[in-house]
Symmetry: C2
Subunit: 426 residues, 2 copies
């Protein structure tokens, strides 16, 4: 009985939050750029001014995480310090500096009957963001939604609840200072996991769900959501060394693509190399990788060339290691390389290293991934590197947004039709 | 036991269909425009050449529908005749004449590090279309998907099964003549309703579901689909006569918006009028509507001006009549009109009739609908009228596509990044 009452009250609370977000979204959709930017700049100032309160809240989260025995990587993601708070503040200022994505005229044309039709960017509405431990996502996601004129309902990881609450309080101070509704950025006020289930059914109040986290979170969201999802699945990215590759570039690009950071979605997980060129191209690449601490798993040809390579299994071609491990496979030619990427990859980011322009053109055309690259490191798969200023994630679906999701991708559009009394003929 | 076996076999059959569609989509994505257009033109020729076979198939459907006691409107939607087959053939030719939406460079820019980034249109992949009785949707939807480089899995109404099968056979002849995979357009080969449920869970093989039909179909799709949906919900459209409206234009636009065709989604369902101008603007509008056979349901002010008006209830403001009935409401001012449309409307298409440019600008900006109009009939809410050539429906969601869905809206995009060996700094 107690549970039923509690669930009922949670449901009511979530619905109230949704209604407030919807009302705020209507106001925010019409907010001029200066108001939105002022909210962001005031929030940045508040983050700096109230650093101590944020660090106190974070200390609570850290203590709880330690007593639960959470590991070092988890603790590092959760931890805030003055430098990270400053980075959050600068992030808000950077978003304020972006062009307003709302109101852009995306297309405009005139029909023979004189109707003038414009496609104009408008906000998506209410964005629900479900994420895990990193408290800085609270500031980033809230800021991007605000800039795009959307209300945000944030559901952070339970480990970071106090930190997120302290950050959201600063964002709300920014909104208030700019005369915008504070309900434009709301944090789900409980760590109860049932709140996520309720959120995913609130299709009347939430227009899109953005999950950011591990596979189990994404799978839960896909299984339960009655709301459209902009999701980031895996980044099983490839670098392919074509026979025409410049050997020096092959080393530099592969080393960067794999080892710059191994834990990001744009890190290369499988290296493909043309068999006929493997003996020439591969040894210096593998030497550099191994010297940098990377473990190699290769097919028989690769093992023949590099005795330190462990054998790769079929499973390796499908694996996103997010670690200093690289699967290496030789392929007969460009066709086999493209087929391998399309079959085993996750349609995220894949790159060809080649001097042969025709081979590169075919790879760019035929590899079916959100981002295809020629002579560049897959680690450039990032909204900031694309010039979007910031990103809320990298979408791996095919609808609405594909690739980095920045403020433009957080908008929809409407058609504005201007006439002079036109009626439609029968 | 028999049922279990049958379901198992249906599941297998649907999965095979999905795999074939996925493989065909990969081929179609790379098909050049001439091949796609040739398939469309050959299919149009086959529709004409094999008119007799299509009419025979349709006669089967019509006989079954009559024996089931289906009504006149349903029979009319189902019926094919030489004129309707010719219209289908011309529809295919019109789609062939459209620009290829695939490969368009949507944006391109260069980063300070020299990376050249282009956003290029690519097909969505596999489109699943679930529709009701009209067999011509089979040709239209198949053609639009083909032109956009997508494979289509079509699930027509059971009433039109034989007609749709005969039409799909012609589309496949076109594909074969153009050297394209016949599996690019497939019809679910059974009228078993369980096939729809299977289809809606085939997220591995289908990228987007487009339901076309009544509320119960749409609700089923929303409840069961594990695949993103491009759906057309209701069109509860408004025409608003601002006090500054030209009286003659008010009559012409309103009459057309309501009565040109009452059964389409862009038909106006509620007329709003500024109270202060109602006495002057409304009588000629209502006279014209009533003379054309329209029933009026009005608030007290409207009933005071027009004795033939029945009383309107709260429910009328929410109703999509799709019939010769109009709800009429007086409002205090522009603010109340905008609030009414945003509260009771379905965010489809809404129009203001006004000479006051500032009032029109506010309506266009503040009404949150897929299509907002000034001095034009809401019946222009149509892909053809927008210049899209043809449409698969009008999307009422906010993600991916909003408003008419033509070939451009049946595409996604990818990023093509061209470098010269760039690596990402740490």
């Amino acid at each position: 009985m107690a549970t039923v009452l509690q669930d009922f009250s949670l449901e009511q609370e979530m619905q109230a939050l949704g209604r407030a977000a919807r009302a705020a979204a209507q106001a925010l959709a019409l907010a001029p750029r200066p108001a939105k930017d002022r909210a962001l700049l005031e929030a940045a100032a508040a983050l700096r001014d109230q650093r101590a309160a944020i660090l106190d809240a974070n200390a609570q989260d850290m203590a709880a995480a330690r007593s639960k025995g959470l590991g070092g990587a988890m603790l590092d993601r959760l931890m805030l310090d003055p430098k990270r708070i400053e980075a959050m503040a600068q992030g808000l200022e950077a978003v304020a500096g972006l062009e307003d994505p709302v109101g852009r005229e995306l297309a405009r044309w005139r029909r023979p009957n004189g109707l003038d039709i414009a496609r104009v960017a408008v906000p998506l509405g209410v964005v629900g963001i479900i994420y895990e431990s990193r408290p800085n996502v609270t500031a980033d996601a809230g800021a991007l939604c605000l800039k795009a004129g959307n209300a945000a309902i944030l559901r952070g990881g339970s480990e970071s609840f106090h930190s997120s609450r302290a950050i959201v309080a600063r964002l709300k101070e920014g909104l208030a200072a700019a005369g915008l509704p504070e309900a434009a950025i709301q944090l789900v006020p409980t760590v109860d996991r049932a709140a996520v289930g309720i959120m995913l059914r609130m299709s009347e109040h939430i227009d899109v769900i953005v999950p950011r986290g591990g596979r189990s979170l994404i799978e839960r969201v896909y299984a339960e959501s009655r709301i459209p999802i902009l999701a980031h699945l895996e980044g099983n990215c490839h670098t392919y060394l074509h026979a025409s590759a410049d050997p020096k570039m092959a080393v530099e690009v592969t080393l960067n693509a794999k080892m710059r950071r191994t834990g990001i979605c744009g890190a290369t997980e499988t290296l493909l190399v043309d068999r006929a060129a493997a003996e020439r191209l591969l040894p210096p690449v593998l030497d550099a990788l191994i010297a940098a601490g990377c473990a190699i798993r290769g097919d028989e040809t690769v093992q023949g060339l590099e005795p330190r390579a462990a054998p790769a299994s079929e499973e390796d071609w499908r694996t996103e290691y997010l670690d200093a491990i690289l699967a290496v496979k030789t392929v007969a030619n460009l066709d086999e390389a493209i087929a391998h990427v399309n079959r085993y990859g996750s349609h995220h980011t894949d790159s060809i290293v080649a001097e042969d322009a025709a081979a590169a053109a075919r790879f760019l055309s035929e590899v079916d991934s959100a981002i295809v690259m020629h002579n560049a490191s897959t680690q450039f798969a990032d909204g900031g590197e694309f010039g979007f200023g910031a990103e809320i994630g990298i979408a791996t679906g095919r609808l609405h947004a594909r690739g980095p999701v920045g403020v433009e991708q957080l908008t929809s559009y409407k058609y504005v039709v201007r006439g002079s009394g036109q009626t439609r003929p029968v």
